[in-house]
Amino acid sequence: MAKIRVSLKVNGKAVEALVEPRLLLIHFLREELNLTGPHIGCDTSHCGACTVDLNGKSVKSCTLFAVQAEGGELLTIEGIAAPDGALHALQEGFREMHGLQCGFCTPGMILRAYRLLKENPKPSEDEIRFGISGNLCRCTGYQNIVKAIQHAAAKLAGAPVKEAAE
């Protein structure tokens, strides 16, 4: 099949490539751009490990073709820290509150939480749990992930943050 030119912004940088139409966005990110933060978990649109932010929406990059991202603005975990390397409040929250064990779901979890907090800066615990219902974690039981997101919400709001999890 004829390749198609796709151009978009990834983590603030302009990217252009010739791709097969059937190339999935997750494969484009991992294999063409070497952005291996977004993971392939279930590959069936369930687990959310491949979640990235595209045009202000959390999307599962295993269920989009790269060509559909034409002209878009895309953010992955690699682009979430400040240019000087200072961690984003969510990254810090996951570290402080032990929001991960194996870490496989974490990039997707953080990208989803990123959009959730943009839309709802002060979510309740229920809203957080509902908001991350498209992201599966097989280690933590979610408890510390919720705490990590609460930590980030407080930090982003300039409120005092809670002590780390015991």
């Binding site: 139409p21 059937r22 999935l24 590959d43 649109s45 959390s58 269920t63 060509v67 989803r112």
Partner: protein
Amino acid sequence: MIPGPFAYHRPKSVKEAIAMLADLGEDARPLAGGHSLIPMMKLRLAAPAHLVDLGAIGELKGIRSEGGDIVIGAMTTQHELIADAGLAAKLPLLRETALQISDPQVRYVGTLGGNVANGDPGNDMPAVMLCLGASYHVAGKGGERRIAAREFYESAYMTALEPGEMVTAVRIPVPPKGHGSAYEKLKRKIGDYATAAAAVVLTLSGGKIAACSIGLTNLAETPLWAEAAAKAVVGTALDPAAVKKAAAAAEAIAQPASDNRGPAQYRKKMAGVMVARALERAKSRAA
């Protein structure tokens, strides 16, 4: 998983899309949100030679009022339905249903048009559209037509759409002010398709049900419009006997398959339970 190869097309207007679908014939599929089609393509259960991506067609987006109807562009996402305050005020059933579809990521991308046009009996919006008496705007090479949702679904994945036609909008008559509605969905986990689900819209007059309509999800090859179940409660105060009659009428038309969601007998029973719950909740919300 890597889908089979295909040629990709990105029309800018409905006219252009229709011309492409007509030219490319049965090897072409329109691509809306793609959250049903792309997984099918990854499993190689679908292998269209051409994809006509509707994502760049602005005229397929948006929610507008037209007379007593609400017209929703086919490419409007579930997320956009949920976020629309005007829609939530006039037609809360749509928001309530959309919130029970899959998960946030899927709702950002999945569209109303794709949900109703795909013909998947597991999709939630078709039964809601039967319940509301909606119709679909359909465009094809021969022009435009409207198809009543109640006449649209023929079998699993088989609809009244002719080759080369596509749904461009969903038209919903707004139920009267003071109506009550509910979508009750039994599922194994968040994001799942329904084990059984029921949509109810009703109006009250002097404490009695004046009008009622019921739709059922994932209980047959097509969504079901449960006319007899609705009739069983009209004129009653929704006393336990009437609710029981309606539930029995819903169970009588349900023909679910036995699958991972449970044996057919259980799912049939759950059809009745969902109808009973949806009726009571809809009534509690009616004025």
